[in-house]
């Protein structure tokens, strides 16, 4: 396995999380499929797809952490890569509907039929093939990230300027995808999918498989991300984050390093989007909304930036909270969510995982200090500088 190969460089925490993810990926679908609904350990299908959705968000947050936590690029447009991956998957799923659409047109999706489109736009060709669609899931976001990053990093756009133009990018895409003339279904987006690879998308078995795939991909991407950050390249990456000019003066091509990370991260976000779409059953331009991208940043911050594990926990926790609150306190849940963001920034500036790690290390340091009877300034160690 690839994971086996990558395992060598990892610390124990990552390995533990990898195993947990794989275990979840096996156990939850198994419990859903094999146990009877009466069994207390049975996971109902809706809970499984909900959890699957959280895992997609977790993957997106992980992708963001790679660029933000380790490379210092605060992208406010990662939702765009996520949505593009989702659209690629959605287009595949639309083509799979075939003649089962409401108008029975064998080629054209329904929304094209009733808007009087006569033939399939060129960019829809090929999406009837699964492999091509899956290729596009990583190629399209990757390409956009490459082009965008190529210009931005070469011109040394950074800090808040970079954040704002990533926001402009996702906002422009939002407006573009809203346009019906674009041929992506406009505001309604792509929906009413039937099956994936021949399996009905509504069957419990398919849902279980999708869930397992999500957990697996999350584990895989975590392994890759961890591999990157713990390699020699990763050290340079952190160097770029903390003192870009120095790294440049040392002779590294900072823009290449940034570009590579940005593209990898965008591809991961694309995969997250592709896994998201069949599980929630819709992709529409709303996913490009600047607010969504900001939320991803918040999940990452809540969980702990620059920890890889933190964003996963943050994404799952915040979204779980959102699901519970919107159901339990529909009128006032925004107070709770808004309050949470304020509280986390004020009281847990390192995020959940970051704080725990910090405490742990501080305790170790204290112990070491007591042992060695010399002080260590634990404060400067973990927290990344801006």
């Amino acid at each position: 396995m690839i994971t086996q190969f990558l395992l060598r460089g990892f610390d124990r925490k990552i390995v533990a999380v990898l195993f947990v993810l794989l275990a979840i990926g096996v156990l939850v679908p198994a419990s859903n499929l094999l146990l009877s609904p009466e069994n207390p350990l049975h996971v109902p299908t809706y809970a499984m797809s909900l959890f699957g959705k959280y895992l997609c968000y977790a993957l997106l947050a992980l992708a963001l952490d790679l660029v933000w936590g380790y490379c210092g690029i605060l992208s406010l447009g990662h939702g765009a890569f996520f949505a593009l991956g989702g659209y690629a998957m959605g287009m595949y799923l639309m083509r799979q509907i075939g003649s089962r659409g409401v108008y029975g047109d064998p080629v054209l999706p329904d929304f094209m039929v009733f808007l009087n489109w006569k033939e399939l736009p060129w960019f829809w060709h090929g999406f009837d093939m699964f492999w091509f669609a899956m290729l596009m899931v990583v190629v399209v976001p990757g390409l956009l990230a490459f082009v965008f990053g190529w210009f931005a990093f070469r011109s040394r756009v950074n800090g808040v300027y970079l954040s704002i133009i990533t926001q402009a990018m996702t906002y422009a895409l939002l407006l573009a995808f809203f346009r019906n003339d674009m041929g992506f279904g406009g505001n309604n987006g792509l929906t009413d999918f039937k099956d994936i690879l021949g399996f009905s998308i509504q069957a419990d078995g398919t849902r279980a498989a999708l869930f397992a795939a999500t957990a697996l991909f999350l584990a895989l991407c975590l392994a890759i991300a961890s591999g990157i950050v713990s390699s020699k390249f990763g050290k340079v990456l952190v160097g770029v984050r903390d003192a870009e000019s120095r790294v440049r003066f040392l002779g590294y091509r900072v823009e290449h390093i940034k570009l590579f990370t940005f593209v990898v991260s965008a591809m991961m976000a694309g995969i997250a989007g592709a896994l998201f779409v069949p599980q929630v059953g819709i992709i529409n331009p709303g996913e490009f909304g600047p607010g969504n991208s900001i939320e991803v940043v918040i999940w990452t911050a809540v969980g702990g930036r620059g920890t890889l594990i933190g964003p996963i926990i943050g994404a799952v926790l915040v979204n779980f909270g959102k699901s519970v609150f919107t159901g339990a306190f529909p009128e006032i849940w925004l107070f709770a969510l808004g309050g949470l963001f304020i509280a986390v920034t004020l009281f847990l500036p390192r995020g959940i995982v970051g704080t725990i790690q910090h405490r742990f290390k501080a305790r170790q340091a204290m112990k070491a200090a007591r042992d060695a009877e010399s002080g260590i300034d634990s404060d400067t160690k973990i927290q990344p500088a801006e």
Binding site: Y171, I294, G339, T345, P349, E386
Partner: protein
């Protein structure tokens, strides 16, 4: 629906119209008014024209009442009255003479329905009737009404009125109205030729409209004249179009400037990525709403002053909110700009929901004072008053802020703190308070923007969300930390947007502007007016 009578009745009515011809009963206004009670919209239109032809000035109040929906049918005898008053019983007046004729319970009356067709007919008739009014303003309005709805019927009246008219302003309009009416009459060709020239001089879209509609009916020999006149007008319009686009762009730019200028302080000067900025704008707009509500209930005569009163209120309210926000949240986050993004995003969610809980999720009505309504013509430019005031207001705010920063002690301290906090502190400046008041200032200005935006946009909990992204774009495009950059950035984005819009449409125009910003940042990574020196890093 009581007003929709069946077809048979309508037919019978038309027959009666036909047979009665010009009999006395027909031109008897009282009888005509009573017919209104049963007429449908098309018939009503005819009756009104008939009434208008009587030339009886006494009918004017009845027409005005009809237009305002004060004409009623008494159910018991089918007679029509002007009814006025509030409460359960209304005062009745004879529509033909204006005499009071007792009163009736509201339940015993049915309101006569008015629609646009009827309203147009009333305006026409009123125009004809009031052309000879002793009041200059009324004559002016009448001439304009006739100008708007050309009809050969008015020609004789117009000529009579022109003979007596002494005021040159009214005369001009009447001449134009005469030309317009003449075109659709059976007057000789040479008179029409002159009329075309007069209409050409009026200019504008309306003139083209009049000429186009006349084109179908006039003598073929006049066609070339009309075409030439239209072409001439269109040429002038083309020139004005460019100016009009600049105007639209300036006006959009001034809105962007207002929305962004507060952010230029909190974000540009202080480095706080203030996602709650839009909500400050929203609070400013809601302050305006509260002030107006208060005025409506307690001192309606002050309504035209409501915005002037709302300005300081909004400034103080949002400034106070900003101050509290700075003291309770932001001050712990200095030096960590990206974390201010998260916290202020949380704040914006809380503020939105708070406003939603307090004022409800729906739009609130903020009225336009009379001096902000309507428009006027400046050459070929149509300029709306509210846009003009907003442009002026944004410039005033900009200059005031600039003066505050450059000329006041507080501005000096503020600049000192942003440039070198430690040094400023050691010079005895209370940096925490300077921070707090700087943030309050930025928020207060957002509140002022809210007052202005309440005049052109929804006052709803979502108001701020629609401006926050644009505001950031403006500040970044102009160059963080530079007020002039914000000014130039806002105006140029506005103008570019408005020049693109007619060609590519509103949606694509906006996308192109965003792409343009992205490309521009590649070229100048620190915006239009980049700060230089050590403060940059």
């Amino acid at each position: 629906m009581t007003t929709f009578r069946n077809a048979a009745a309508a037919f019978a009515f038309l027959l009666s119209l036909l047979f009665s011809g010009l009999a006395a009963a027909q031109s008897d206004p009282a009888a005509l008014f009573d017919q209104l009670g049963k007429a449908n919209f098309a018939e009503t239109e005819k009756i009104i024209a008939e009434l208008g032809k009587t030339g009886d000035v006494k009918l004017v109040p009845a027409f005005e009442a009809f237009s305002a929906g004060d004409l009623y049918l008494r159910k018991e005898d089918g007679k029509v009255f002007v009814a006025r008053g509030t409460g359960a019983t209304l005062q009745l007046f004879n529509p033909a003479t204006g005499e009071a004729t007792g009163e009736a319970a509201k339940g015993a009356l049915t309101k006569l329905k008015v629609n646009n067709t009827v309203r147009r007919a009333i305006n026409n008739a009123l125009g004809g009737l009031t052309l000879l009014s002793p009041d200059k303003a009324v004559r002016f309005a009448a001439a304009q009404a006739v100008l708007k709805s050309p009809s050969a019927d008015n020609l004789a009246l117009l000529e009579a009125a022109l003979e007596k008219e002494t005021d040159s302003g009214v005369r001009t309009i009447m001449e134009e109205a005469k030309a317009v009416s003449l075109l659709s009459s059976d007057r000789p060709v040479d008179q029409k030729k002159l009329a075309i020239e007069t209409i050409k001089k009026i200019g504008g879209r309306d003139a083209i409209g009049i000429l186009r509609s006349a084109e179908a009916s006039v003598d073929a020999s006049l066609k070339p004249d009309i075409d030439k006149a239209i072409a001439g007008i269109e040429d002038t319009l083309k020139l004005w179009d460019a100016a009009q686009n600049v105007w639209y762009g300036l006006s959009l730019g001034s809105v962007l400037l207002l929305a962004a200028i507060g952010l230029a302080i909190t974000f540009g000067v202080m480095g706080v990525i203030n996602m709650a900025h839009g909500e400050m704008v929203m609070i400013g707009a809601y302050s305006t709403f509260i002030v107006q509500e208060f005025i409506r209930q307690n001192a309606p005569e002050l309504f035209d002053w409501s915005l002037a009163i709302a300005l300081p209120v909004a400034f103080v309210v949002t400034g106070a909110v900003g101050l509290v926000l700075e003291r309770s949240v932001i001050r712990f986050l200095y030096g960590r700009p990206l974390e201010t993004l998260l916290a202020t995003w949380g704040v914006s969610l809380v503020l939105q929901q708070a406003v939603r809980s307090l004022f409800g999720p729906t739009n609130r009505e903020v009225g336009n004072p009379s001096w902000m309504s309507g428009s006027f013509q400046l050459g070929g430019l149509a300029i709306t008053w509210n846009r003009l005031w907003i442009i002026l207001f944004s410039i005033v705010v900009f200059l005031a802020l600039l003066a505050l920063l450059k000329r006041s002690a507080f501005g000096l301290q503020m600049r000192a703190v942003t440039q070198n906090r430690r040094m400023a502190s050691s010079m005895g400046i209370k940096t925490p308070w300077v921070d707090a008041f700087t943030f309050a200032l930025g928020s207060g200005i957002a509140g002022l923007a809210g007052v202005a935006l309440s005049q052109i946009d929804n006052v709803s909990p979502n108001l701020g969300q629609s401006y926050i992204i644009d505001s950031f774009m403006v500040v970044v495009f102009g160059g963080v930390g530079n007020l002039w950059g914000t000014l130039v950035g806002a105006l140029s984005l506005g103008i570019v947007n408005k020049f693109l819009e007619p060609y590519v449409g509103a949606v694509l125009g906006k996308i192109l502007v965003l792409v343009l910003i992205i490309l521009f940042i590649q070229k100048r990574p620190r915006g239009l007016f980049a700060l230089k020196g050590r403060a940059v890093e």
